[in-house]
């Protein structure tokens, strides 16, 4: 468990990949990116989540 890959992403939960988020500025930029993404998700999320979830009914398959 000791070998850390050179490609491995860094700690934190919002950077795009390992090459970003090296400096504070870039970290801020990608945190901003995560915020933008959440805004977008809020915009696209089904208006009435409860009704949507309730109406998502499938038959079993396979």
């Amino acid at each position: 468990m000791s070998q850390q890959s050179i490609n491995a992403p860094r700690p934190g939960d919002d950077e795009e990949n390992a090459s970003d988020a090296v400096t504070g500025g870039q970290t801020f930029a990608s945190a901003q990116g995560a915020d933008d993404l959440l805004d977008e998700i809020d915009a696209v999320l089904e208006e009435n989540a409860e009704t949507f979830v309730r109406s998502f009914v499938q038959k079993g398959g396979e």
Binding site: M1, S2, Q3, Q4, S5, N7, A8, P9, R10, P11, G12, D13, D14, E16, N17, G33, A34, D36, L37, L38, E40, I41, V44, L45, E46, A49, E50, T51, F52, V53, S55, F56, V57, Q58, K59, G60, G61, E62
Partner: protein
Amino acid sequence: MSGGGLTTERPMGIETEFGVLHVDLEERTRAGAGSAILLSHLTVAAYALLAPAEGERGRRVRWDYGDESPLRDARGFELQRAAAHPTQLTDEVKDAHLPSVELDGPVRGSDVAPEGTDDEVLAWAVHRSIGNSVLRSGARWYVDHAHPEYSAPEVLRAREAVVADRAGELVAREAMAIVERAEGIPDVALYKNNTDGKGASYGTHENYLLDRSVPFEDVVAVLLPFLTTRQVLVGAGRVGRGARGSEPGFQISSRADFMEAEVGLETTLNRPIVNTRDEPHADASRFRRLHVIIGDANLLEESTFLKLGTTSLVLAALEAQHRTGAEILPELRLADPVAAVRAISHDPSLRTTVELADGRSLTALQIQREILDAVAAVADRTDAETDQVLTSWGELLDLLAEDPMLAADRVEWVAKLRLLEQYRRRHGDLDWADPRLLAIDLQFSDLRPGRGLFGKLRAAGQVRTLVTEEEVAEAVTTPPASTRAHLRGQLITHHPGAVPSAGWDVITLAGEEEGHRLRLADPRQGSAAWCEQHGVDPVADLDTLLTALHRAVGDR
């Protein structure tokens, strides 16, 4: 054992059943799951009959379930003269003895769609229950029970499988777009997921061709610990626990709570971790088809890549163990595999240990590490894909052990969990029972452009990709070169009028005077390399082609 030289190469493929919904909320609420079959037929017919990319409007290549009689030729390749007229060849297609058959009803009247607008063609297709087709890519696109299903063409490598699997997403998108454009036809939304969270599950199955001589009890012994624990690497994540989601919370695998047995034949009830279905669609004396039903539908490319790559390598180690008598794979008998699947899935911290028959208690990561080390010791690391799979497998085990969030751009369940956690924090630490979190889980896999949340993650660069959009788009209409899917797809593409039907191991060619059934009982036969070696040019005119095929089988 040293230098075993094992690689990821083997015939394999992925089948995906899509979740299917009315876009219109009123219709959806009124119909419930009652319109699932109708919507599935619309979806399948839309792409099979109306997608310009698939050739002549209104025509499709029918699915052929193949023969059950063993091949007479031990080489597994033969060409039989068939009935004289193309229409008879169509009627000969055995569409009538497998489960999904009733959905592709017996031929009454013409099998060719009427002239007319898109909605007229779709209405005809639904009336006729058109539910089966073979695409230019060599894929099967059909209605399975109450879901549209894309069975990707056979490939030999994990990366090819990723491309073919992603191509299925584009087929689904195009089908939705065609339905949307048709007047008076209800719009359809497709989801690449595995459960509605209300007790229904539908599958994403993997298939691997395996040496028949390996005793099945050995397959089971090796696969139970492997499949039970691989979810930590390739799970898709799910909000809700229990088949009906009755307990709030996040879990790693969308399929875990639907696994009820260790080994068995069923796929719809009492689902087993190791499925025993064994129609090899190949020479059954040499091959077994391992049908894996425990896997999640994956959107993240590295997840699909690892799912196929690691499983293929484990099977290669198993085959080598049987062949050489050497001990390669570690003894990892779980005390209770079914309970272990759930326990592991229900703990995203990955600290849960499961009990082994020998008294040890190990985490899923530790079990995967033992399997990886054993496989790596006999793998051919000069093989680029094998090396890539082993490297990625090891890196992800390290990252997940350190902190799962470190793998959020490479492991699908972590990518989903990170998004959910960000959303929870933004909205004041939402409870896991909040319908918005359940909605995010469902919308994660929405395949409509601009709607799917995974698509948003990808567009934002928050998850890694492995293949290019260009090659995925090309794979929609181009078969993989490495298997018999090549010959199937090329013949369908270049001789559209002369291929009334095809199946995994059979292609019917209808000439003016007589027809032929070509049987390919080894998935490597019919590959681009095989065709070249045998002087078979799928683009050549039909007579030339048939002569070449006859020569290839040594008939003439």
